[in-house]
Amino acid sequence: MRTDKLAIGLGKTVAVAVILAWSLFPIAFIVMSSFKPGQDIFAVPPKFVFSPTVQHYVELWTGWGVFFTGLLNSTIITAGATIIAITTSTAAGYVYSRYSSRMLNASVMFLIIVRLIPPIVVTLPLFPIINAIGLNDTHIVLMVLYATFFVSLGTVLMRTFIDQIPRELDEAAQIDGAGRLTILRRVIVPLAAPGILAVAVFVVVFAWNEFLFAFIFTATKAKTAPLVISEMIGSIDGVDWGVLFAASTVQLIPVLLFVIFMNRYLVAGLTAGATKG
């Protein structure tokens, strides 16, 4: 019996070690390599002890100003998309939670079905239209696209979270003479904060990392950080791995910390999003 327990414990330890290595090794490797001096990056077997240097970050700063413009663009676009997605989904989620009719139920189904249209499909008609109205290579296009591809999930999530807020609170506020907008702002929003944060995690991670739309709809002015990094990967005169790792680290660390701190909301959002629509 004791050897059995020991064997199970050992098996679990090995499994956990493998899972941790699988999940974290690639990330740790990039971050570590970004601080390795020149040739140490290519050392076989990989060096885990080295004298760290910021040389690649200096090269990134001096040689790739466009990357930092990209980061700024990514920040603006992520913030815009998140604000649009949160406000619109909260308002709609509130209605779907508190009112019910045949038409409303049908439109929820519609929201769920819309999620299944692959984003690349809409690039075909939107590309010429966006060019024609002179909006290509602007922040607003990506903000709206990113927000739109998450408002359906956002709305359904917000409905689920708002469903948990007792209606009596709405009714009490209503008796006190509050209108719908006031109820939404003063009663619902504070209590639905976990739902809002869950939606925010989805949109922030998506908008910060997205490649396809940025690739198609931006050229120079609104180019996002992932797009600049993709150009580093595709560089014709060979990839400068040190600089690429430095840029990847700078792009990755903020969103990684965000996911780590918001993990509860991410888990809640993923669970509710998958089971409730």
Partner: protein
């Protein structure tokens, strides 16, 4: 009735965004798919010709085959891994929250950076994983020349990026199974394997179906990983449906066939979705009891 008109302003922003950015453009894609058009040319109606052209194009069929291979290989392996991990976590681990966050980490990583990682780790000349495989006497992945190796790389990468999603869905569902059921099974003399087969699996069924369908639908539209890894090359041998669509539209300016490809993608997704909605309904009905 009065109420509905009063709440319209709350619903309008979401509905307007979805209609103008997704729904109306998608219907316009139907129109495009029935016409032959290119930049600066007026369109002419060609019926289903674009669909026939796409469905008989060897490049499309290859792309479709690659996509189906990636979907089947990656999604099922991912499900097996996610299920194993969910059961491991549920069996009781120390520092579970920390481990959970570690497993979630790849969720934060952009496809672009994931491709950069993978390209370096598996680089035929300098990649550490390549070096390790050679050291172990295993064949290396020659992904820049060998299409099947490139597809394996892309499959592994997709699993790495999406395993957190599958894992969380299954883990949450596993935690929702009441402990009493396992207690009762134990008292009835069930072995742990019996309990797994008779309690865990049936009760995880709906969650497994949901995770699978989501991943089928999302894996089917895979673009960035492939585009950034191989651009569909060498010689269009690693294209997937979305890359084929992109090439038709933005490299060859063939909007008609690109639109037909797009609608083939939509229809495939909707087909999968019908299954999903059906399951969802069943689940909602199940929850009501």
């Amino acid at each position: 009735m009065n109420k509905i008109t009063e709440v319209v302003p709350f619903l309008a922003p979401v509905q307007i965004l979805i209609l103008s950015v997704i729904v109306i453009p998608s219907f316009y894609v139907v129109w495009l798919s029935l016409h032959a058009s290119s930049f600066g040319q007026s369109a002419t109606f060609v019926g289903l010709q674009n669909y026939i052209k796409v469905l008989t194009d060897p490049a499309f069929l290859l792309a479709l085959g690659n996509t189906v291979l990636i979907v089947i290989f990656a999604v099922h392996l991912e499900l097996a891994l996610g299920l194993g991990m969910a059961l491991l976590f549920a069996s009781g681990l120390p520092c579970r929250r920390v481990l959970l966050v570690a497993v979630l980490a790849p969720y934060a990583v952009s496809e672009v950076i994931a491709v950069a990682m993978w390209r370096f780790l598996f680089d035929p000349d300098v990649g550490p994983v390549t070096a390790m495989l050679t050291w172990l006497g295993l064949p290396m992945l020659d992904w820049s020349f060998e299409p099947s190796h490139a597809l394996i790389m892309i499959g592994l990468l997709t699993i790495w990026l999406h395993l957190p999603f599958t894992f969380i869905i299954l883990y949450a569902a596993r935690l929702a199974i009441p402990k009493d059921l396992y207690e009762a099974a134990r008292i009835d003399g069930a072995t742990p394997f019996d309990a797994f087969r008779r309690v865990t699996m049936p009760l995880l069924g709906p969650a497994i179906a949901v995770a699978l369908l989501f991943r089928y639908i999302f894996a089917f539209r895979i673009f960035s990983e492939v585009w950034l890894m191989t651009q569909g090359g060498p010689a269009r041998s690693t294209e997937v449906v979305a890359v084929y669509l992109y090439q038709e539209a933005f490299s060859f300016n063939a909007f008609g066939t690109a639109a037909a490809t797009a609608w083939i993608m939509v229809l495939a997704s909707l087909l999968l979705a019908t299954g999903y909605v059906f399951l969802l309904r069943k689940q909602v009905a199940g929850n009501a009891h």
